[in-house]
């Protein structure tokens, strides 16, 4: 029997984990500074959490990992979380709705079946959700926070693509479709299938052309949106409100210095969004996205609560960041050696390593076999004076000292104050 991982899964090596933790660290730090609090939701959720809102397309629901739990004799399935936002909305409804405003962030994995197994079926994302705030300023804050993280990761040429779900949904109402038919058409549009438009029979001729023109809408200024609004306003006054909302947000983004592009069809994968949708690209690769989902919480049985959020796709970001530019070279390691075989001598080695850790130095006890890479010092522990023999591995110069504090002096002094219980003295 050979040991190998499951198809479509991914392990993270120590090098990859350094990238992962770096992204996570920068994301956490940024969120905390903007006043967001970290939460973590369960990996296993009820399937009906994702079906009850009608917010995920059937094609997406077919790819969820669902199963009958050990107590699933009712026939209802549970799933491995296929989405980061819906569990956060569930958490808010369950425990936080009295608070009104909740600014939450998370780092989590989401699961979705992928046929070929070439892509990972477990994807990591870090996301922020702003629940209870419905203003354009709230949307701008989330876009700014997402961009802030991406820029701190040293990524250049970041593209911000904007869309607005409210525009499409409002127009679909005019086609005289039932709610389910509207959802079906919206699903097709979000899945990138615009051929569905040819099958629609709008109440008035010309609506199809208007929708097609809207879906073809691409521009880089608020003026462009205002032009489009003036074009359709007379025939479709219902579009004024979503257009005004879109323009309001875009004007504010311009005010804070954001570059952006408008592409109405870029809503794919954001089934539950009702207002602004934004996506972030680096070098043509999508690294994140989010938007406003005001209908989600009421659909899940919560109060009428506005909400918006975004997620950054860590698997993509891990491949894009230049680790060396972001992390200073690690300090050389110290290897504590003892040739002595008594338990008491071993204690001396571990005491010294602990003493050095508390002083802010990386130190390992030699366990046999090859020495670790990136060694700066070796400290040999002896049973008689001199108790410590230090070797500078670069110059091969040797130093003999008697106490732990003297070792510290040789290494360059304390980086952090050792605790009162420091045991590195002999």
């Amino acid at each position: 029997m050979s040991a190998h991982r499951c198809k479509g899964t991914r392990d993270m090596s120590p090098q990859e984990m350094r990238r992962f933790r770096l992204i996570e660290g920068i994301f956490r730090e940024s969120c905390l500074k903007w006043g967001y609090e970290e939460v973590r939701t369960s990996t296993i959720e009820h399937l009906h959490l994702f079906t009850s809102t009608g917010t995920l397309t059937p094609s997406r629901l077919r790819r969820v990992y669902s199963f009958l739990d050990w107590d699933g004799w009712s026939g209802e399935r549970v799933v491995l979380r296929p989405d980061g936002t819906i569990p956060i909305a569930r958490l808010y409804i369950e425990t936080m709705s009295d608070a009104g405003l909740a600014k939450l962030f998370y780092v989590t994995d989401v699961f979705s079946f992928e046929e070929t197994g070439k892509e990972s079926r477990e994807k990591w994302q870090c996301g922020a959700e702003l629940i209870g705030a419905g203003s354009a300023t709230a949307d701008v804050e989330l876009v700014t926070l997402a961009l802030d993280v991406v820029h701190k990761l040293g990524l250049k040429y970041v593209e911000l693509i904007l869309s607005h779900a409210g525009l499409i949904r409002t127009l679909l109402v005019k086609f005289g479709l039932s709610h389910d038919e509207q959802e079906d058409v919206f699903d097709h549009i979000l899945d990138g299938d615009l051929s569905i438009l040819a099958k629609l029979k709008p109440e008035r001729p010309g609506l199809g052309r208007t929708l097609a023109a809207l879906l073809d809408l691409k521009g880089r200024s608020v003026g462009f949106l205002k032009n489009m609004r003036s074009l359709v306003n007379r025939d479709l006054p219902e579009l004024e409100a979503p257009f005004n909302n879109f323009i309001d947000i875009v004007e504010r983004l311009e005010a804070v210095g954001c570059d952006y592009q408008i592409d109405i069809t870029s809503g794919r994968g954001f089934e539950y969004y009702t207002g602004l949708i934004f996506r972030l690209f680096v070098g043509g690769e999508e690294v994140g996205g989010g938007g406003r989902y005001d209908a989600l919480i009421p659909l899940m049985g919560g109060q009428d609560t506005p909400a918006s959020g975004f997620a950054l796709y860590m698997d993509c970001l891990m491949g894009l960041i230049a680790l060396d530019n972001l992390v200073p070279p690690s300090a050389g390691k110290i290897l504590v050696r003892t040739g002595l075989k008594k338990a008491g001598d071993l204690k001396g080695a571990f005491d010294l390593a602990t003493f050095l850790h508390e002083a802010g130095y990386p130190a390992e006890v030699y366990l046999g076999g090859p020495e670790p890479a990136n060694l700066k010092w070796t400290v040999e522990i002896r049973s008689k004076e001199p108790c410590f023999v230090l070797t500078d591995r670069d110059s091969q110069q040797k130093f003999e000292v008697e106490t732990g504090p003297e070792v510290l002096v040789l290494l360059g002094g304390t980086k952090r104050l050792p605790s009162a219980k420091s045991k590195g003295k002999r």
Binding site: M1, H48, S52, T53, D71, W73, S74, G75, E115, D180
Partner: protein, 472 residues
């Protein structure tokens, strides 16, 4: 080059045999009543054919055990509903064995049912022998909350008390439904289909076999069956009251199939009279002289789950199916009340006589270090899974089967978990028993919440006592 084909038992056998005979395949042993699973052709020496339950054939072709297969399109679509990436190619409608898969509901529900169910926030229960297609349908309909009961059969008796919707097939133009059911939508038109393994189709020369069938079919002018979109069937007018079951009524499930005779004998001996069971007209709602008890007839395989989920309070099923259920759901509220002493079988582990071991330990040693997965075939997938785990069989794969499991050894499985009474079928197929997992007889089972229910406890205790008396 060897060509392997999986052929159906059951309803498609005679017409498939006629087609292959016309095509000159020379599979003389493939005929109604045959006991042979492995077929050779004098005319096509490179052809190896094996006979399976129709439902097993798409899986066997998809995993590459067979290059070609013939089965109903309904079972192909059932596999593809769950595993759309299966290595299956649908080659040719064979034009016989036609049927339609419907969704059906009780006439007692207000119409139009689908629209109502789509708005429902409570659980919508779907019951079917086609659970994958049922789940797929629920997602397509965007049902807000649903559960799917996979069934071995008898779906028509579930609505309205135990399911809102069923997926059920009707074959050969039969459009009638028992039990006050009405078709709600037409899901799929199906017939017998020639299918191929995708890799075989891309890499092997199957042309002579396919062409020989094509020649016959072209002459008969058969056209392909298309998968129908969900099509709403016109509303059927009529007033049918919902059968309300009072809170103190005990709901009893009795088995269909070959367990009916010993069950009715025991009930008669206990003085319990059940009318229309077994039913000559196929009805599944017998009446009895037990006050405050309603009875439905369902498959014994389905009973433990149906008792667990509260659809029934009491049922008579085998220990084997109870164990299968408890292996899947260890915390299930199903409890065994009484051993009814009939329907004795042994659940055994079986290998080919060619395998040089006499017990499971020997099997473990023989397979230690083997890189290919051990293939364990069984109708009892959870019992088989537990057995493989408990006996540390290493890398293994469970192959679910729908009967005639003995045919799987040795080409398509390495080990069977199977039930047997005398062992003669196993011996006839050159197989041997290496372990007995447990012995099984019919049991009276109950939902423990029903037993604890003050309104039902007395009736359940009374039925249990009566049956115990009859066993004495």
């Amino acid at each position: 080059m060897r060509l392997k084909i999986a052929l159906p038992k059951g309803r498609l056998l005679s017409e498939t045999a006629a087609l292959l005979a016309q095509a000159g395949w020379g599979l003389d042993e493939y005929r109604d009543g045959t006991r042979s699973y492995r077929l050779k052709s004098q005319k096509m020496p490179d052809l190896f054919a094996k006979v399976f339950q129709e439902k097993d054939i798409p899986v066997q072709v998809a995993v590459g055990n067979y290059d070609l297969g013939i089965c109903g399109l309904d079972w192909v679509e059932e596999l593809l509903a769950k595993y759309p990436g299966s290595a299956l190619v649908k080659l040719r409608d064979l034009g016989y064995g036609k049927g339609v898969l419907y969704t059906a509901a009780s006439r007692s529900l207000p119409s139009p049912q689908i629209d109502t169910l789509q708005q429902q926030r409570d659980i919508v229960r779907l019951a079917s022998e086609y659970p994958n297609m049922a789940e797929s349908l629920a997602l397509d309909l965007r049902l807000k909350r649903f559960s799917v009961f996979p069934l071995w059969g008898g779906a028509e008796v579930y609505p309205p008390e135990n399911a809102e919707l069923i997926l059920i097939s009707r074959i050969n133009g039969d459009k009638t439904f028992n039990h006050d059911l009405v078709a709600v939508s037409r899901i799929l038109d199906f017939s017998a289909y020639l299918i191929a393994n995708r890799y075989s189709w891309e890499s092997k020369d199957l042309s002579s076999a396919v062409a020989s069938l094509e020649e016959i079919l072209a002459c008969s002018g058969e056209s392909c069956t298309q998968v129908a979109d969900i099509e709403k069937i016109p509303e059927v007018k009529g007033s049918y009251p919902v059968r309300e079951v009072a809170g103190d009524v005990v709901r009893l499930a009795l088995a269909d199939g070959h367990q009916q005779q010993p069950t009715i004998e025991l009930l008669n001996k206990a003085g319990i009279r059940v009318d229309d069971y077994p039913s000559s007209s196929g009805k599944r709602r017998p009446t009895s002289n037990l006050d405050g008890v309603t009875i439905k007839v369902i498959r014994p395989q389905d009973m433990p789950l149906q008792v667990a989920n509260g659809n029934f309070d009491l049922a008579i099923t085998g220990k084997d199916w109870l164990t299968e259920h408890l292996n899947q759901f260890p915390a299930s509220p199903v409890v065994e009340l009484l051993d009814l002493k009939f329907g004795w079988v042994r659940i055994v582990a079986v290998v080919s006589n060619e395998v040089p071991v006499t017990d499971t330990g020997g099997l473990r040693q023989l397979w230690a270090g083997q890189s290919a997965p051990i293939r364990v075939a069984s109708e009892y997938v959870n019992i088989a899974d537990k057995y493989a785990r408990d006996n540390h069989l290493g890398l293994y794969r469970i192959i679910p089967t729908w009967g005639a499991t003995e045919a799987f050894l040795t080409e398509d499985a390495d080990l069977l978990i199977e039930n047997t009474q005398t062992g003669s079928t196993l011996a006839r197929n050159n197989l041997k028993i290496i372990d007995t997992l447990f012995e099984s007889t019919a049991r009276l089972i109950a939902n423990k919440d029903s037993v604890a229910d003050a309104k039902k406890r007395k009736k359940i205790e009374s039925i249990t006592k009566t049956l115990r008396g009859a066993l004495a």
